[in-house]
Symmetry: C2
Subunit: 265 residues, 2 copies
């Protein structure tokens, strides 16, 4: 087992049987980069190879041009923090160049910290119950719907569903965009999102989970995998999370009480 | 054909044959959101459903709470621009809340505009030549290497290669992070990146292409799909781009002169 995975208990449903098994999921951790003691950005990553990640990220952002620009590096693994010292000349040059310096407000702002605080306070209490067969039926319909994916392989899809059917369906090159389109469409057409559930083609990261939970979505189903952090947040928020929903099987990571499966009947 | 796909000519290599065929690829377009006439952020998206995208993005960012917060919406489809007018009260409330307002410098800054200008000026002139069989051999090795992916399905991998072998290999939950780790590792170990090539498990978007090209990478191979914009940039930058490299087949989207394939022998 790699250190970037963790074992957790899940419910695996396959055909007519479901069982509680141990499964491995990917770890997702916030890592905050400080440049010359100033907070620069927080990345969500696997928690491994963070020193390379910090150097590579700053090179990609154009802040450092070569390894000689770096005076020192310090990593606090447990706390998920990295400190990099670059010569003042590098920073000044960069500031003079202007235009695309990332401020600390930006990276942090995109989603992570304050949402975490604000959300954990109010778990979702949607009490719907849905049949596992219905989830798989709509998952299949969802896959069939995705014409662009089938012709190009280059997109993600996202759909809003209730207990009976798919209500909205959108595609985009990005997982986040596809979800934002669904949210925007629902808002514009005054369709209540609270208590509905989502189908997504993409992996379920903490950012996707938070974005959905903020709108009151009570269940997320993906044909792909969730991260450990997303599962933790789903548990805290009382969101039902299902991964690897394909054919006749699915993994239930949290909130199983919302799903009625064959073996409970 | 959906309006979010376009037809282009590619070279498809399959076993011992290769042929020029027409294929559909996903469109990727910049879409700039203006809030109350002020530039807010540029998103890279499919170009479809941009009105829903704009509303949903601003709702996800917490700028608008309900549809009543919106006074007017105007979309300039051709120019890829959206204008949304919200009541000053909404903006003021938001500013008072502070903390995570996205500045226009942020979204634009992450990658897109200035890179485009700066890059198109200096195409890569790396003149290596690599056998298609070697690409597929290393692609297979790359897939075998990805242990976390196999156990969890939740990560992306990226590797730096030369004409003979894989030199660096990293995984992360994000495509960008995996590439940044490779770049950081190469910088820290003084491994020349220029003229090397990349294997990636993820889709090739314009951002990934630009990030790689900025470091002088001359070829990108993915088991997944590229976007139309990434292909255009690859052509301009003289980067060789290969997608759907799986088993005995691959699609060559640009820079085919760097690949020797069976039918040319």
């Amino acid at each position: 087992m790699s250190s970037s995975t963790e074992k957790i208990e899940i419910i695996r449903l396959q055909g007519e049987t479901c069982e509680t098994i141990e499964d491995e999921v990917t770890v997702e951790k916030p890592f905050t980069i400080h440049v010359n003691e100033e907070e620069f950005i927080t990345l969500l990553c696997s928690g491994e190879g963070v020193e390379h990640l910090m150097v590579g990220f700053l090179a990609s952002e154009g802040l450092i041009g070569s390894i000689e620009d770096i005076l020192s590096i310090r990593i606090e693994h447990e706390e998920g923090r990295g400190y990099i010292e670059v010569s003042e000349g590098v920073l000044t040059k960069k500031k003079a160049h202007g235009k695309r310096t990332l401020t600390s407000g930006c990276g942090k702002g995109t989603v992570f910290y304050d949402v975490l605080d604000s959300l954990t306070a109010k778990p979702l209490n949607a009490s719907f119950k849905i049949d596992s067969g219905k989830i798989l039926e709509l998952s299949k319909q969802f896959n069939d719907e995705s014409v662009v994916f089938k012709t190009t392989g280059g997109v993600h899809a996202c759909a809003l569903c209730d207990e009976r059917e798919m209500l909205l369906f959108h595609e985009d090159i990005g997982r986040h965009n596809a979800l934002d389109k669904v949210i925007g469409n629902a808002l514009q057409n005054k369709l209540k999102i609270q208590g509905k559930w989502l189908l997504t083609s993409g992996r379920i990261s903490s950012e996707i989970l938070i974005k959905a939970a903020k709108q009151g979505i009570a269940m997320i189903v993906s044909r792909s995998a969730p991260t450990k952090l997303a599962i933790q947040l789903a548990e805290q928020m009382n969101v039902t999370m299902v991964g690897f929903a394909r054919g006749k099987r699915m993994n239930i990571y949290s909130g199983a009480e919302r799903i009625s499966c064959p073996c409970k009947e």
